[in-house]
């Protein structure tokens, strides 16, 4: 290895570049470490103890956050919404994308263009009419239930009627409204992704299935979906991330604590009179860890999905 001006500048610049990359990586990772370290301190030491990992590690903060802080309920809610919304999006968007890609019907191009336009046109403040819609339908539902209760009381036992109406009002309706709203949020992108994937899929397998007498729905279920696994994986991850991290619609639609997902629960916990910082940090760790685990496991998929879209589009 010759030591001349050229190799020296190469080595120096290479070293500086590495230092630069490492510094930026540290800024990406440090806040998470700080959050985790803070969650192991106590309320009295968290304002003075500035070590990243404290000497005395209070693991019970996680248990306290899960039970007293309510983060257990929030976590289960987030899990509930994420799985149901992702399942719903995969079903609905793969059906529609398959139809847009492989079937012909009047208005097909117009409808697909509508979905594309929805992706590209920004609708700031769209939560306002959604909130109005959810409330209006809720009022209609409440009126309908109130009007029908006298009739139902004559036929069914009293506890059952009141129990069901209060269940519908406090649990079933808000959850369903939120789930449907979130399905809509991810719909355009998912349909677009799946349609472009189905377009590139070879037709021979479908033709073979058709000759074997498979119905359209059967082809969708047995041929198209299994072949689309990579695209569906991207859609699952993308939408799961969006639902888990979503805040504003949960803020507006889900107003009682036992319905809230994690992000909303964090803001509620943070807004209480004297914020219990270690418990808040523990709650944030509970929110972040599942995302980090899934991200680190699936990162090859995620990155491939993003770069594919970026380079083509």
């Amino acid at each position: 290895m010759r030591l001349n001006k050229y190799t020296l500048t190469q080595h120096a610049s290479g070293f500086l570049i590495n230092v630069f990359l490492i510094i930026v990586s540290l800024t990406c990772v440090f806040p998470l470490l700080w959050m985790f370290g803070s969650s192991l301190k106590t309320q009295s030491t968290i304002f003075s103890d500035m070590s990243i990992i404290p000497g005395a590690m209070h693991w019970e903060n996680f248990y306290l956050a899960w039970t007293k802080g309510g983060f257990g309920v929030y976590f289960l809610n987030s899990l509930f919404y994420t799985t149901i919304v992702v399942f719903g999006i995969v079903m609905v968007s793969s059906l529609a994308a398959y139809a847009f890609s492989r079937m012909n019907f009047p208005g097909k191009n117009l409808l697909f263009f509508m979905f594309l336009a929805a992706m590209m046109i920004p609708l700031p403040g769209s939560f306002v009419p959604l909130y109005v819609l959810v409330n209006n339908v809720r009022n209609v539902l409440l009126n309908a239930m109130a009007a029908s209760t006298p009739f139902l009381l004559k036929v069914l036992p009293e506890n059952f009627v009141y129990g069901t109406t209060s269940f519908i009002e406090s649990q079933f309706y808000p959850r369903t409204a939120y789930i449907l709203c979130m399905i809509n949020v991810g719909l355009s992108f998912s349909i677009y992704m799946l349609k472009t994937f189905f377009d590139r899929m070879p037709k021979e397998l479908e033709d073979a299935a058709r000759i074997d007498g498979c119905s359209r729905l059967g082809i969708w279920r047995h041929v198209a979906l299994p072949l689309a696994k990579p695209a569906i994986a991207v859609i699952i991850i993308y939408n799961a991330l969006n639902v888990w991290n979503e805040y504003i619609l949960a803020n507006l639609i889900l107003s009682s604590k036992n319905l809230m997902p994690l992000q909303r629960g964090l803001m509620v916990f943070q807004g209480e009179h004297i914020t219990q910082y270690p418990l808040l940090m523990a709650g944030m760790t509970i929110t972040v860890v599942p995302i980090l685990i899934i991200y680190l496991v699936m990162q090859r998929f995620i990155i491939k999905g993003i770069t594919a879209g970026a380079v083509v589009g």
Binding site: M103, Y277, M284
Partner: protein
Amino acid sequence: MGFHLAEKIKQCYNALHNATPKQKVAGTVLLLAALETVFLFFHDSVVFWILAYGLVTLALIFLVLANIIKKSLAAFLFVVPALAIFSIFYIYPFFKVLQLSQHAWDGISPKMVFVGLSNFVEIMKDKIWWVSMRNAGYITFIALTFQNALALALALACDRQIRAKNFYRVIFFIPPVLSEVVVGLIWRWIYDGDYGFLNYTLNLLGLHQLTHNWLSDPNTALTCVAIIHSWKGFGWGFMILLAGLQTIPKELYEAARVDGANVWQSFKNVTIPLMIPVFVLVMILTILGSMQAFVLILSMTGGGPGYHTEVPVTRILASMQGSSMFGYACAQGLTFGVILMMVSFAQMGISRKLKQA
């Protein structure tokens, strides 16, 4: 009789298909005017919408009976779930905004008051609204410069290194994967004036005079928010720029080096011209994303000292939740949406000129 009607519908469909652009524009304008008048007479009654959907369903059933859609009924059934959800949660709110923005309503009383365009006049006079627009513009400016310059530098740095590239890709994409609530709360804690890690480090380094109440000082709050927004966002730009850089064939760089170009010259003459489409894409994504950022602000400052970190979407939320002026909130949303569309179109025009050059 049904057959003649079907024929007429087919003729209308063909006419629509073959209309000239002028006719299409005129038709759309007329359709919108008709919708406007309908909205003025039917307020927010859910019964109206149930009737509307019922009518559309009946029309579809009739068309099926008239043999038009019967062949593609299966295809329609595939699309119906997506269409139903989309029309309820996207199309209806789209038109609802058009309706509400011309009324004054507090969200509770059963009647809305038609006020025409006075909501929009109010917006023009609303000082806080324009302060929020300026703040969003500032955040976008920082994102376009600081965030994207950082993303480009990192992408260029990672373009060479083969081994560690995947490691850095994973690390740099961690901030975008986190939720804005979590990011806002963590950095709020780090920026805290009394107990935050930032001031602690500054004191440790002996830079006492630099310590601030970062998020409560009107001079620094917005910049801090903009920096954290960039911190959360640079991963996206990095990913897209790196993907773009990797599509440039290595032979071009080698040819440039053979011709005697140094690093800066090969960057200027090889990298930049080939990366212009990617730059345009990143720019438009950055602008649209940064102008609409708001959950990060809610969790970091809640709007800031005074109105110093308000952005348009937080103003819309405040009009709705704080002041209960639903009509005004919708008017704000509509105005902001139109402004964003104009920015997009302007950017597309500029990018087309750049691509031709």
